[in-house]
């Protein structure tokens, strides 16, 4: 690998925005046939760097060399022409069009009078799809494909040109474990073909499984490159946040209170069935399982967003009927949803208004909202959760993921719930804020809340839970106490028989 010309080399890239030095002399090299991880907290400069590479931003200083040839990329088209391809986290496909049309969008082969040459289009596309060993063909409508397969279409698009470097931006964010395996195979293939790959992800397991080297950015500065083989999670984390992250197993003794919530034989169609469990005050109950195992659906049912087809729910020993979120909130069940931007926050509103949203109708002075009372509620939860926002007037959409999540948690704590359900508490949140959220969830249990945590990340479940329920295909397979659980038997429990949770 050492005598080869690098596929891509960045030298001293500087990019400033008014008041911010977003990239401060970033240099690193991607060799052909190498998977190179790019890591850093949110705001470390990864996105800016990728936009420089993609021709969306122009660097103020420094140079980009592709195969040792200095290249200026004035726009995304030039980046593509130079063999730099992106697989974005958010897919940009035309759902109503066929796979082939999507792959050659903007470059459809034509015959005379501008007619599309469908035969060439389909045969070329099928040739590429064959290489990817996917189970669909050129004529399939993209909207009918699973997210994972849609991602394959994006990858196929990258293969239509002679790609020198392919950048994967959080490619596994919405994939199930079996889909990830397929993706990783494709990456391995690309690697074998001598393509240089930049792999951006927050997930350490993947980074250590897939990559050859890891480069770390912090506050726009390049902090160094490590050989994946010779390093460990701690070292990478330290480089990213300047200190190490505690993700040890939860061994704290629990002072269990009475049962807060008990569920008996709950079912909702084919989504989940025969679900029974209880949560005590003062404990964190973890739900672990693959995406699609029914965890989120259970939470949504408890919160009144879905109607159960059978089963009973007891709150503090009393049977309750929950028909809507209004019922759930009134009875003391709160849900911090899986996607905070879509379901949790009103992004265009300020911090204070978001926190008081569920109770604003109770905060009145005459006909008007009692804004003073609102501000004091906000102040209280800002201090308690250490929300870092310039003021209560700050628009929530401008805050970091970690602080946004704290706003959602604060919103529900201010309702003084009996049971707090947190679905994917740290999705899309950077490493530093992750541990803050984890500590917060533990603290809440100590203060006597009954906390249910749903997570797809094993280290997270192990770190925060007192008990863990392993789910597979809509059923609770096994219950573990924090003391007895091991990673192996947890994985076995959530994998069912074949490991495919379709």
């Amino acid at each position: 690998m050492t005598d080869q010309t690098p596929a891509l080399r960045l030298e001293g890239i500087v990019k400033t925005f008014p008041g911010v030095r977003a990239l401060d002399g970033v240099s690193f090299t991607v060799m052909p046939g190498e998977v190179h991880a790019l890591m850093g907290e949110n705001g470390a400069g990864k996105s800016t760097l990728m936009k420089v590479l993609g021709g969306i931003y122009q660097p103020d200083e420094g140079s980009i060399l592709i195969a040792e040839r200095e290249t200026v990329m004035a726009n995304p088209l030039e980046a593509k022409a130079n063999g730099v391809m992106f697989i974005h986290q958010e897919l940009s496909l035309a759902e109503e069009l066929s796979v082939a049309e999507n792959i050659y969008l903007g470059e459809l082969p034509t015959k005379s009078f501008g007619r599309v040459d469908w035969e060439t289009l389909y045969s070329r596309t099928d040739a590429i799809l064959e290489k990817l060993k996917v189970g669909f063909n050129a004529r399939t409508i993209v909207g009918d494909l699973s997210i994972a397969n849609q991602q394959m279409v994006e990858i196929a698009r990258a293969l239509t040109v002679d790609a020198k470097a392919v950048i994967f931006d959080e490619p596994t964010a919405s994939l199930t474990d079996s889909e990830k395996v397929v993706l990783f195979d494709v990456i391995t293939d690309l690697k074998a073909q001598g393509v240089g790959i930049i792999y951006i992800s927050h997930r350490m397991e993947e980074i250590f499984k897939m990559t050859d080297r890891i480069s770390v950015l912090r506050d726009g500065e390049y902090r160094g490159t490590l050989n994946t083989r010779d390093t460990n999670e701690d070292e990478v984390t330290q480089l990213m946040i300047g200190r190490s992250l505690d993700l040890s197993r939860n061994t704290a003794p629990v002072k269990l209170g009475p049962v807060a919530l008990r569920v008996e034989g709950l079912a909702c169609g084919h989504l989940f069935e025969d679900v029974s469990f209880e949560v005590h005050e003062g404990e964190v109950l973890g739900f672990y399982g693959l995406v699609g195992a029914g965890r989120t659906e259970i939470a949504e049912t408890l919160f009144g967003l879905r109607t159960p087809t059978s089963g009973r729910i007891f709150l503090k020993g009393e049977e309750v009927a929950i028909k809507s979120p209004i019922d759930a909130i009134a009875k003391g069940i709160s849900l911090v949803p899986e996607s905070r931007k879509e379901q949790g926050l009103v992004l265009g509103m300020n911090c204070r208004d978001n926190i008081t949203l569920p109770q604003v109708s109770d905060l009145r002075a005459g006909p008007f909202v009692a804004e003073g009372a609102e501000i004091s509620i906000y102040d209280q939860y800002r201090d308690r959760l250490e929300i870092k926002a310039p003021s209560w007037k700050s628009i929530v959409g401008n805050l970091s993921g970690g602080n946004q999540q704290k706003i959602v948690i604060g919103k529900w704590l201010s309702m003084r719930p009996e049971v707090l359900i947190v679905d994917e508490p740290t999705r899309g949140i950077d490493v530093g804020s992750k541990s803050e959220i984890h500590n917060l969830l533990r603290d809440l249990a100590h203060q006597g809340y009954a906390v249910i945590v749903i997570s797809s990340e094993m280290p997270e479940v192990l770190h925060v839970s007192d008990r863990i329920l392993a789910m597979y295909s809509g059923r609770i397979m096994r219950e573990f106490s924090a003391a007895e659980v091991t990673e192996d038997n947890l994985i076995q429990a959530i994998s069912g028989i074949t490991g495919d949770a379709a």
């Binding site: 925005f17 008014p18 009103v346 509103m349 006909p367 909202v369």
Partner: protein
């Protein structure tokens, strides 16, 4: 931070800056081009302007609420006409013959109830069917206009009651009734939107409906209330206008919905919901009216008015987009 404030002022104050520009332009241009020797910024002229902008203005205030809420209402012009017919026609009904001038408040009330009822229908259909408000109110626009024509065919409906005309033309400090009703509407709805729970929820639902549902807000009934509100305001607009004129044509109020939407958008309210203000809409309404009057003042063809307003609308949205795009880029750092 300082830059943010500048940008905010630019964004929210843009319409008022535009109004000042208009006033300066028409005053100066009027000196050279106008046939009349009256100054454009004459007090009487400005008061008249406010009165003339009242019918669409009152509706635009309701449209602001609907659009902040993430919906739209295309049926307001037809509601306006139907409420006017109910008001004028009910004054001649034999049942009310013994009331004398006491029929005036009764017919006003009937007109306002008509508006509320039609709005209620719109809101209920939007809530219960889940069909997009654009489609529902497009259907309602055609349907309600159909009712207008069924009422009296192509004939105008008229009834002149001089006591009512006196009411309608009464003034306080030169502000005539329609202008007063308009300003009062702006004030009340502004208070509702900025200070009350209903207003807060309107913004929340318009910005992120799912989050609002998850926060336990009764989204359906809230939306219905806003449609009732705009129906009421469309009828109020008819009451304010036809009390003086006393005659309604079956085509009256056509395109009012588009003028109202134009004013709301000029005033900075987002088409997608979640952001906007009643005060901005007041600015939008006034800006359009100044443009109409101003172009007349400098002797431009009345036919050019629509062309100019259309062009300005697009320019304003272009400016807004530029300002917002800069903001988005700054955030991504």
């Amino acid at each position: 931070m300082h830059k943010d404030r500048l940008k905010n002022t630019l964004k929210h104050g843009a319409i008022w800056g535009f109004i000042v520009l208009e006033l300066i332009f028409f005053s100066v241009a009027g000196e050279f081009l106008s046939l009349s020797d009256r100054a454009f910024m004459d007090v009487d002229n400005m008061l008249l302007l406010l009165k003339q902008s009242a019918p669409i203005g009152i509706i635009a205030v309701g449209m602001t609420v609907i659009m902040i809420n993430g919906n739209i209402d295309l049926s307001v012009g037809a509601i306006f006409a139907l409420a006017a017919i109910v008001m004028l026609d009910s004054m001649t009904w034999p049942v009310f013959a013994g009331l004398g001038d006491g029929v005036i408040p009764v017919s006003w009330l009937l007109a306002l109830l008509t508006g509320c009822a039609l709005g209620l229908i719109n809101g209920f259909v939007v809530w219960k069917t889940g069909v997009d408000a654009f489609i529902v109110t497009l259907g309602a626009m055609l349907g309600y206009r159909g009712l207008v024509f069924m009422y009296n065919g192509e004939q105008p409906t008229y009834h002149l009651n001089w006591t009512m005309v006196d009411f309608a033309e009464a003034d306080i400090l030169g502000l005539e009734s329609p202008a007063i009703v308009f300003l009062a509407t702006v004030l009340v709805v502004w208070l509702v939107m900025t200070r009350t729970v209903h207003g807060r929820n309107a913004y929340a639902i318009g910005d992120n409906r799912d989050a609002a549902v998850n926060a336990g807000i009764r989204v359906g009934p809230h939306i219905v209330m806003n449609f009732v509100l705009i129906g009421f305001l469309a009828a109020l607009s008819a009451v304010a206008f036809y009390s003086a004129s006393g005659s309604v044509n079956p085509n009256d109020g056509m395109l009012f919905e588009l003028w109202a939407i134009t004013a709301v958008v000029l005033g900075g309210t987002k088409l997608t919901g979640g952001r906007g203000s009643v005060i901005g809409t007041l600015g939008g309404v006034i800006a359009i009216q100044i443009l109409r009057k101003g172009l007349g003042h400098i002797g431009a063809d009345s036919e050019t008015v629509n062309l100019v307003i259309g062009t300005i609308l697009i320019l304003v949205l272009l400016l807004d987009r530029q300002l917002n795009r800069k903001g988005a880029e700054e955030l991504k750092v």
